[in-house]
């Protein structure tokens, strides 16, 4: 029984923290897909750059962890505005194939640049001592870091919920997702709004990459390696539905962790079984799920 509880705690804590990171990285893409239907295959680059920047700041310059993460997030959010202006503006009218190809091209360039700057090996994350410690938690020794990630994720989710459900910015954003033409007609500057949302999404991805560096290890191939996971969250979340995307991310995190825990050999395939079933059931309605009102 004690072993069972300890197993459940493991799946709960590791699955939740993994799902939280997944949510932070993907939510920006969920939002942009909902808003302008641009499929950004290079989204993972933001997470990777955020992660590398934070880890290198800590490792090389000895900047405190929290400050390093903050700098990385702000830098990536600012850089994403430039990228959006140069490349993505041109894509809004283009076909989905062209969007996918161009952004894959950008992802490749990003990967090559990461390799050039940081080398081809996995970069280990340095956690501050406070986070690297272990504590007893429901019959099991758990790293404080995992609990920290979950709590931080909850705070961010609440913050996002507040911004999108309770502020005028959020209301305008939701209006633009639901009906862009109408939103423009009543005087909402959708282009401007989108730039802001894009920067917020990229910043969150950078946060996920930086905080999650100990969960999703940093390597140059990072943007392609986790692309499928990110896209799974996006596909299963419907059009721009952020609340659902939080649920989906955590569900995927728990499923994946449980699979690996119970069947170490083939468990990592479980998540793809879920994907396959989802595709067969939802097939042609992918991404056209009605927007939650």
């Amino acid at each position: 029984m004690a072993e069972f509880t300890s197993g459940l705690t493991f799946i709960g804590i590791y699955g939740l923290s993994y799902g939280t990171i997944l949510f932070l990285i993907s939510v920006g893409l969920v939002l942009t897909m909902g808003l302008v239907r641009v499929v950004n295959m290079a989204h993972g680059v933001f997470a990777a750059v955020g992660g590398y920047a934070a880890v290198e700041l800590v490792n090389m310059s000895g900047v405190p962890f929290a400050l390093a993460v903050t700098i990385a997030v702000i830098a990536v959010a600012a850089a994403s505005l430039v990228v959006e202006r140069i490349f993505f503006r041109k894509l809004y009218g283009a076909s989905e194939l062209e969007q996918a190809l161009l952004t894959i091209g950008l992802a490749f360039i990003g990967i090559a640049a990461l390799n050039l700057t940081f080398g081809p090996d996995v970069v280990g994350a340095m956690l501050p001592n406070a986070l690297a410690r272990n504590v007893q938690f429901v019959g099991r020794s758990v790293q404080v870091y995992r609990l920290f990630v979950i709590v931080l994720g909850l705070v961010i989710m609440l913050l996002l919920w507040y911004v999108f459900d309770r502020t005028s910015f959020g209301a305008r954003l939701r209006a633009s997702v639901d009906n862009r033409g109408m939103a423009e007609a009543v005087g909402i500057n959708v282009t401007h709004l989108f730039s802001l949302a894009f920067a917020i999404g990229s910043g969150l991805a950078a946060l996920g990459g930086a905080i999650g560096a100990a969960i999703l290890p940093l390597e140059p191939m990072y943007p392609m390696k986790y692309l499928i996971l990110i896209l799974m969250v996006v596909v299963m979340s419907g059009r721009g539905n952020m609340k659902l995307s939080a649920g989906v991310s955590i569900f995927l995190g728990l499923i994946d962790t449980a699979g690996r825990y119970f069947y170490p050999e083939i468990g990592s395939f479980l998540i793809f079984v879920v994907l396959l079933l989802y595709l067969i059931v939802r097939g042609n309605q992918l991404l056209y799920a009605p927007v939650a009102k």
Binding site: G105, I111, M232
Partner: protein
């Protein structure tokens, strides 16, 4: 109007430049006797790109996971040979048929989707197939791949030589035959309805075309050709690895086709050699830096040179002949 439809009407009429293209492929055999292994792999990818062109370029089925069929063909051919069935040509046909049947099973999910969902669905299938092959060690030997494949001599006469002479002619033969088949199919009423579906499925439905059935046919034929390409890759290299199923390969073939020109018969056939040769040169330099080149190519083609190499050549030709006719 004439300008718009003339490519359709011209398609089944051989052009002078086509003879040149195939003569170059024959000449490669005599000019580069030491590089025939690379040349063979280029032919295989050209055939693979041709199969993708049938789906993406002519039928409008966006496939981000075409390596599923390539890999299934390769594994089918490999398993067949290991099971003792060593005749290569029928082996490749069986492998292609297996891939075709898998396409028929995936088809309903893939073809009902369009645009972004279609990209996601095909990509998802690609990942699922790869992960399955990775885990199903009893069937695929996982990371180790299938080795020790032995084949009967081609036509019972030509031994498979170490310098790939037989392999080169074998691949070239397949490429030519299947190219002719696809070209004939595309010029047929069936092929024209496919191109109609690519342009506008709604209108094709209005005029009574069974869109789903036609596209399923195209998808299955495309998968068959991709499966044969995979089989040839297995038979000529005597090895099948997980890389035949990888998402990288799906993306690679897409880039080749985009580079050569989507929806042009020779798009893949021109794109594959250019891409493979550039990669060969860049890989000696640094495999990661190569991604700068691929990424740059993709961005360049999408933003500035839609239609790829063939598209640019066509634009130049139309520009030249247009200028002439205005003068006369």
């Amino acid at each position: 109007m004439n300008q718009l439809f003339s490519p359709l009407l011209r398609r089944h009429r051989p052009q002078p430049f086509e003879v040149v293209y195939w003569l170059v492929l024959v000449a490669v055999f005599f000019l580069f006797p030491r590089n025939l292994a690379l040349a063979t792999s280029i032919l295989v990818m050209a055939l693979f790109a041709l199969s993708l062109d049938l789906a993406l370029g002519f039928s409008g089925i966006v496939s981000f996971g075409h390596a599923v069929f390539f890999g299934i063909g390769a594994y089918a051919a490999g398993l067949l040979a290991l099971a003792g069935y060593a005749e290569p040509i029928s082996g490749a046909i069986v492998a292609g048929l297996v891939a075709g049947f898998v396409a028929l099973a995936m088809g309903p999910v893939v073809i009902r989707a369009s645009g972004l969902p279609q990209i996601m669905v095909t990509l998802a299938f690609a990942v699922i197939a790869y992960e399955f092959a990775n885990k199903a060690v009893w069937l695929t030997k996982g990371d180790d791949g299938l080795g020790g494949i032995k084949l009967m001599p081609l036509f019972g006469m030509f031994e498979w030589t170490a310098l790939s002479q037989t392999a080169y002619w074998y691949s070239l033969g397949w490429l030519f035959v299947l190219f002719m088949v696809i070209r004939t199919v595309l010029a047929s009423p069936f092929g024209l309805t496919l191109q109609g579906c690519r342009e506008n499925t709604e209108r094709m439905r209005f005029i009574g075309t069974p869109v789903l059935g036609r596209l399923m046919g195209a998808y299955a034929l495309s998968a068959f050709v991709a499966g044969v390409a995979g089989a040839i890759s297995c038979q000529t290299s005597k090895f099948v690895g997980l890389d035949t199923l990888s998402v990288d390969r799906s993306i690679d073939v897409l880039v080749m086709l985009i580079l050569g020109g989507v929806g042009r018969l020779y798009g893949g056939l021109v794109g594959a050699p250019v891409y493979m040769l550039v990669r060969q040169i860049a890989a000696e330099w640094n495999p990661f830096h190569w991604m700068f080149v691929v990424g740059g190519l993709l961005v360049f083609v999408v933003m500035l040179a839609r239609g790829g190499i063939i598209g640019v050549l066509e634009a130049i030709r139309i520009g030249v002949s247009g200028g002439r006719s205005r003068k006369s």
